[in-house]
């Protein structure tokens, strides 16, 4: 395994844990069968993500990627947030073991799902902007 120090730091001291009661968008990805569930709450002001919180059921990498992903999008514009790739999350964490790469994908998807929810609440069809969502099993739970 051998997680990087960054991963362990974000696991031991996750940033932005919690819920946002009056969130503008909420996204949940993964499922318990797969072993990981990420739930992300965003608050949007003038197209900027002014606040973000998460709750995660999952392994160390799942928690750390959630934490890092929230850090990376907090204060960013929605457009920038949508550009966040799982690769960027991994890099920011100084890498992940190969078997844990899917966690970073999950984090990326959680953000997109929350943004999609935000657009939906705005009465905007999210699909052209965010793309279609896959769930845990679609990106290979086993790898």
């Amino acid at each position: 395994m051998a997680y990087s120090e960054k991963v362990m730091d974000h696991f031991a001291n996750p940033r932005n844990v919690g819920e946002i009661a009056d969130a503008d968008g909420v996204g949940e990805v993964g499922n318990s069968k797969c072993g990981d569930i990420m739930k992300m709450y965003i608050k949007v002001n003038n197209g900027v993500i002014s606040d973000v919180k998460f709750k995660t059921f999952g392994c160390g990498a799942a928690i750390a990627t959630s934490s890092m992903a929230t850090e990376l999008i907090k204060g960013k514009s929605i457009d920038d947030a949508l550009k966040l790739t799982n690769k960027a999350v991994m890099e920011a964490l100084d890498g992940l073991p190969p078997v844990k790469v899917h966690c970073s994908v999950l984090a990326e998807q959680a953000i997109k799902t929350a943004v999609a929810d935000y657009y939906k609440r705005q009465g905007i069809d999210p699909e052209p902007i965010v793309g279609s969502m896959t769930d845990c099993h679609d990106f290979d739970c086993e790898s």
Partner: protein, 392 residues
């Protein structure tokens, strides 16, 4: 920081006095046991005496003990060796259980791919095989029954003597993977009608990379590793002399201290189980009494095993979970699924396994450390949130 090693089912420390016994064979006594000159003869003698010691430990004769590279090789050899031998006699059926170690399960699966057939016995919610199930599964063409002595995750001990007796009565060979049981419960291959038995040294404070297979006299099986005439011509390869000597010393010691250890560990274990069960929505996996003295296996709803283990590691506690974190598979433990747990609960298991080296203070520390970790992880778990909502 306090360090507590509570993963003795994964591997154990090499006992210093076992290492002492090995040291000559890691330094001056480097002879090849097959060599004729004195330094070779010394090594041969060491291997022979070790074979005798292992035989004595399980009620076998020295000619029935074959040294291997570990439990996995022993399991592979026993199962493939017997089935390939019996194939020409029309035997193509294997009976095993759903919660065997992968060294057995994947071996059986490999045989199934070759055309053999397998029946997986139910292990029920308590993790114990029923002898009626075995009786019902036996067929005319059953060649081998392989059932583990004690499970490596939930520690449940099977009624091996009873199961093996049924096999003997039906003329079917019986193998047991006793990797977890040996040294922890008394085993006598004669009294218990065991035909083949696997063990590995590193589970009882011996070295890693050395195991043994007991093969009852008269049982024929094909060779897995062909070559030189070592191990009575049945397992080739220059002997791991230091490893073999260490295995025998560690096993002898484990057997000698078994009863007092059993008592001490059982009481520690029970106290820990009682303490952890006070945590909301926790459960003990596997029968509470028919289990290894040093095994505790719990599930805590709403949290995932790896996160729990990492948190424990940060507090100095080495433990493990059912899920094979490093195996590249994110599936929850096949053992916990076999005893009927749903996936989401099976993901949140914790195994704590103890040896002689653990103390009551370790239990105190664990009992103090686990609850706040669980609470923290649950506080950030959307699954726990859901469970709480549904049950309000």
């Amino acid at each position: 920081m306090k360090k507590i090693y509570a993963d003795n089912a994964a591997t154990t420390s090499l006992a210093p006095k076992v290492l002492d016994v090995m040291m000559p064979y890691l330094t001056t006594q480097y002879g090849n046991p097959s060599s004729i000159y004195s330094i070779g003869a010394e090594a041969r003698k060491a291997v022979d005496l070790s074979r005798e010691a292992v035989a004595n430990a399980i009620g076998a004769t020295p000619g029935e003990i074959y040294f291997t590279s570990g439990g996995s090789e022993s399991d592979n050899w026993a199962i493939k060796g017997v089935m390939h031998q019996l194939k020409s006699k029309g035997k193509k059926h294997i009976i095993t259980t759903a919660f065997e170690h992968h060294a057995v399960l994947h071996t059986v699966e490999a045989l199934v791919k070759e055309g053999f057939e397998a029946t997986y016995l139910d292990v029920h919610s308590d993790g114990i095989v029923r002898h009626e199930d075995l009786k019902n599964a036996l067929r005319e063409d059953t060649g081998l029954v392989t059932i583990m002595y004690a499970n490596n995750e939930i520690g449940t001990i099977q009624p091996i003597a009873e199961l093996a007796k049924i096999c003997r009565e039906h003329g079917v060979l019986f193998h047991t993977d006793a990797v977890q049981a040996i040294g922890n419960v008394p085993i006598n291959v004669q009294d218990e009608n065991i035909d083949l038995l696997s063990l590995t040294a590193h589970k009882f404070h011996g070295p890693k990379g050395c195991g043994a297979l007991y093969i009852r006299k008269g049982v024929r099986l094909q060779t897995l590793i062909h070559g030189g005439a070592q191990e009575l011509g049945k397992r080739a390869g220059t002997e791991n002399v230091a490893g073999i000597v260490g295995l025998a010393a560690a096993l002898t010691n484990a057997i000698a201290t078994m009863y007092e250890r059993h008592e001490k560990l059982t009481s520690m274990r029970n106290r820990l189980i009682d303490g952890l069960l006070t945590i909301e929505r926790s459960r003990l996996n596997g029968d509470r009494d028919k289990r290894l003295p040093g095994n505790v296996n719990m599930c805590f709803e709403g949290i995932e095993g790896e996160a729990l283990l990492l948190s424990l590691d940060l507090k100095g506690i080495c433990a493990s979970s059912g899920s094979a974190c490093t195996s590249g598979s994110l599936d929850p433990s096949h053992v916990l699924l076999a005893i009927g747990l749903p996936h989401e609960i099976a993901h949140g298991s914790l195994r704590l396994s103890f040896s002689d080296e653990n103390t009551e203070e370790d239990i105190d520390y664990i009992l103090k450390t686990v609850p706040p970790i669980i609470e923290r992880l649950r506080s950030m778990s959307p699954l726990w949130e859901k469970i709480m909502k549904e049950n309000k």
